[in-house]
Each structure stands twice: as C-alpha cells, then as structure tokens.
Symmetry: C2
C-alpha cells in the first residue's frame, strides 16, 4: 500500500486527536489509517507495514480497538486473514459516550453536593447549577440525535 504525503499527514493529525482523547499512539494511528486509506478494509500486515510498527504493537492496538468497539473485522472463506475496518456506528457511539462521560461526572458531583459543608456559599448554587445542566443535557441527547435523523430524512 502506498500512502501520499497528505494521507500520512492526516493519519498523524487524526492520531493526535485521538491521543488527546486518551487513546494510545498506535491505536490512534490505526484509526487514522483506516480512515484515510484507499481501501476501507485492511489486513493485519497491511496495517503493520503502513504504519511501520511491530507486529506486537499492531496486535495489542487492534485488540484494544476491537474491545472498545471502534473497529470490527470481516473474513472471507478460504482466507485466514481478518479484514479490519472502522465501525460505522462508532462516531455515534463515540458521541454518546462523550456525553455519558459527563453524566458519570454528574454522579460524582451529586455526591459532593451531599457531603459538602459550605453554609451560605454561592458555590453551592454553582454546583447545583452544574449538576442540573448535566442532567438537562443527558435527557436532551436522545432528542438531539432524533432531530438529526429527522433532518436527514
């Protein structure tokens, strides 16, 4: 597989994006590669070669991405190779996960709200405010997705 300068650059940028969201470098690059490659489906060896990483790095990274539901693979009878591709639904899941992450934080904030001793402090209001917004957002999310689906249709 031959990658253009632009492709390589985008792989890095996408990689850095995912790194900044907590992903390890190798899996992050694989996400980039599967995104920009001319083919939607790549084999283990194609990934290893394209990114110039070791087989062990590829193995670990791929298994991590499979576990976190970001990629999947198909096989063809009479061909032992697995063909990896991005999971179509992953961007949608990724978005909801981002919001769910906030919701998890709201759970913590609620606990803080219960135990915190700050009589007549404005920070109590701020905290309730923040929790309220996170709740609001969580309830709103399905409607936002629905609105998007309707808009498309």
């Amino acid at each position: 597989m031959l990658l253009s300068e632009k492709q390589l650059s985008l792989i890095e940028q996408i990689g850095i994006y995912h790194e900044s969201n907590g992903m390890q470098p190798a899996p992050a690059r694989i996400m980039g590669l599967l995104m920009v490659a001319d083919s939607a489906e790549l084999t283990f060896d194609e990934i290893t070669e394209a990114l110039n990483i070791s087989k062990s790095a590829t193995s670990n990274a791929i298994n991590l991405l499979l576990q976190t539901n970001l990629i999947e693979y198909t096989t063809f009878s009479g061909d032992r190779k697995r063909y990896f591709k991005l999971k179509i639904s992953s961007w949608r899941e990724g978005f909801t996960r981002k919001i769910d992450d906030l919701t998890g934080f709201a759970v913590l904030l609620r606990q803080v709200s219960e135990i915190r001793k700050r009589e007549n402090s404005s920070s109590n209001e701020d905290l309730k405010d923040c929790i309220g917004f996170l709740d609001f957002l969580h309830k709103k999310l399905p409607f936002i997705l629905e609105e998007w689906d309707n808009r498309k249709a």
Copy 2:
C-alpha cells in the same frame, strides 16, 4: 484542614475523571480538593498539605490550572497569600470546549473526505454523515445553552 474518608475518596475519583480527560495527576487532584473542601478557597500551603505533594508540584499544578482558566484566586490586603478557588464559569467553558474539540475533528474529517478515493463505497456516505452531524451539533450548541438559561429563569 481535616478531610474525611469520603472527601478523600471523592478527591481521588474526581482526580481520575480529570486525568482521563488528559489532565495531569496533581492538578486533577487539586480540582477535586477545591470541589470537596469545606472551604471554597484554599491557600497554596493548604493545598500542599491536604494532598501531600511537594511545593513544586503544587506550584506547577496551580499555574497550569490558572493558565487553563479552571481556577482563579483572590487576595486580601495585608495578606500575601493567594486564595485559590474553582472558576465558576469553568464547567460551562469546559462543556463548550468539549464540543469545539469535536468541531476540530470535523475539520480533519472534511480533509479526509476531499482526498479519499473510495469509489462507490458506503463508507463515503458514513463520513459525510458524521461531518454533517458534527456541523449540526456545533450550530445547535448555542441554542442548547440558551434553552438551559431560559429554563432556569
């Protein structure tokens, strides 16, 4: 300053949350401490002692948090100490930053869309879809915040 078991536990949990969002351990704990402490405003030394970290760790962490606008401080005349507290607006900023982050990703995806050679592939549709959603979301954000403000009032 004396912290209860529950407070210490919440500091850790909040710390881990912020770490998972890319923050370093020490600043992440400080965020937790300022959240759960009985007083909303803590001095440099109180932070150092409460978290059992060195002065340099405190110094670096505090400056990082100040730079990223997550905390602020007040002073009192005749008192050289700074009193650090969470920035009230920071949760709101934090949220918009999270969305802006997605928008930045959309910029990358647009570049992918331009150069990617995948004739008659369904993944092209998926990509356009994803970009479209991110745009939709970005435009929607101000209205969501507005709706929240109105709901409160």
